[in-house]
């Protein structure tokens, strides 16, 4: 469209379909697929996501960029999709045949049918102190990801319970670091446990080479940024 190539048969815009509502009911959050990243960045109830929002593009871009669109972006873009994977979010997918909820993890793996649209994204707000995010970039703002780390580390009696770690810059789509998460189960958040889990990240990650960084570099810095993300270093 931007290139002005002629021959476009039909262009469908979902912009006017009122799919941009953000609803927060207690811990249950539902965000319309067409909600802009700027709108999410202004929503006080979603403060935990603001660092991630700020790390995507520029404020000008975020006035147009939507959460639904971010879900279908190829890495090293799509940092919000990395967050949604860590949050175990579900997408509401609508077709003529009906509406169903599909895990974001499944959409990232398989995509959606050609005649389907994502109308909303829903997830539970992490408990206080359970959310961690870090994106390594070439510049302080408006840059693609070298590696992105989003981690949900809920704790019960000081021990990590049911952690989820998602990575960007480690495959064409965001990936779950299953082995590293398993290593954190039942552990305390400390340097030792995080170091051991960080060493397992590459078991599930396939860092790639592009104009921003080489696969080698991504693999080297991934555990470092993971440690910094969790320990706030």
């Amino acid at each position: 469209v931007q290139a002005g190539i002629s021959g476009i048969g039909t262009l469908v815009s979902l912009g006017g379909c009122k799919l941009d509502k953000i609803a927060i009911k207690g811990d249950k959050i539902t965000i319309g697929a067409a909600a802009t990243l700027a709108a999410i960045g202004e929503e006080r109830g979603l403060a935990f996501l603001h660092a991630a929002i700020e790390s995507v593009g520029s404020p000008t871009l975020r006035n147009l960029a939507t959460i639904g669109g971010n879900l279908f972006t190829e890495q090293p873009y799509g940092d919000i999709a990395v967050c949604l994977l860590a949050l175990d979010a579900a997408a509401t997918v609508a077709t003529k045949r009906g509406v169903k909820k599909v895990p974001v993890a499944e959409i990232l793996k398989k995509g959606i049918a050609r005649d389907a649209i994502v109308t909303a994204i829903s997830f539970e707000k992490p408990e206080k102190g359970a959310w961690f995010y870090r994106k390594a970039m070439r510049r302080a703002a408006n840059s693609a990801s070298i590696v992105t780390i989003a981690a949900l580390l809920p704790q019960s009696k000081g021990r990590i319970a049911k952690p989820r770690i998602a990575l960007g810059g480690c495959g064409a789509k965001p990936v779950l670091a299953v082995k590293a998460a398993a290593a954190l189960e039942g552990q305390k958040i400390d340097r030792d446990a995080i170091g051991k889990a960080g060493a397992l990240l590459l078991e599930d990650a396939e860092p790639f080479t592009d104009a921003y960084a080489s696969a080698w570099y991504r693999a080297r810095v991934l555990p470092v940024h993971f440690r910094r993300a969790i320990l706030g270093e």
């Binding site: 469209v1 931007q2 476009i8 912009g15 520029s58 404020p59 000008t60 871009l61 147009l64």
Partner: protein, 167 residues
């Protein structure tokens, strides 16, 4: 699909033109309305030279199919000056040498206008953040940031005067 008539409010004036499906807001402004201040640099939302305000918020005009913003309000650099009197942002860009080749200036100024509308007292970091989607290959940005900061001061000083005049 046939061409359609699209209506936009551009710089306060209603504009109507015929457009082919999929035409970007940027092409519509430049080709149909002869408003060429918004530039086509990268045409993929990376360089910021096409920044205009859509309902007061900065957007990249190259990423917006014009039919999707029908009836809405667009501001371009052409709408800033009042006759021969430059807008404080334009004035500061001239005074503080914030323009060299000029290709980025219209986008920079519109991104800055969007910022100052929301935040009349920006910090330097706020300005950096606001223009982080606008690429300048000449100035090194510092002069541009200086100019936006200076314009913010000017606009604050002139704001009460304007209010009085309105009364």
């Amino acid at each position: 699909m046939p061409s359609t008539i699209v209506t936009l409010k551009v710089n306060g004036r209603a504009q109507e033109f015929l457009t082919r499906p999929g035409t970007t807001l940027l092409d519509a402004l430049r080709e149909s309305l002869n408003l060429t201040a918004a530039k086509k640099g990268c045409a993929q939302g990376t360089c910021g030279t096409c920044t205009v305000l859509l309902d007061g918020k900065p957007v990249f005009a190259c990423l917006v199919p014009v039919e999707t913003v029908a009836e809405r309000s667009i501001e371009t650099l052409e709408g800033l000056a009042t006759g021969d009197t430059l807008h404080p942002l334009q004035e500061s860009f001239v005074e503080l040498f914030a323009t060299q080749c000029g290709f980025c200036s219209s986008g920079m100024i519109m991104a800055a206008k969007g910022l100052l509308a929301r935040n009349p007292n920006p910090s330097r970091a706020d300005v950096v953040r606001a223009i982080s989607g606008n690429v300048c290959r000449c100035t090194g940005y510092e002069a541009i940031i200086d100019a936006v900061m200076a314009a913010a001061v000017k606009m604050k000083k002139s704001a009460p005067v304007r209010k009085k005049a309105a009364e």
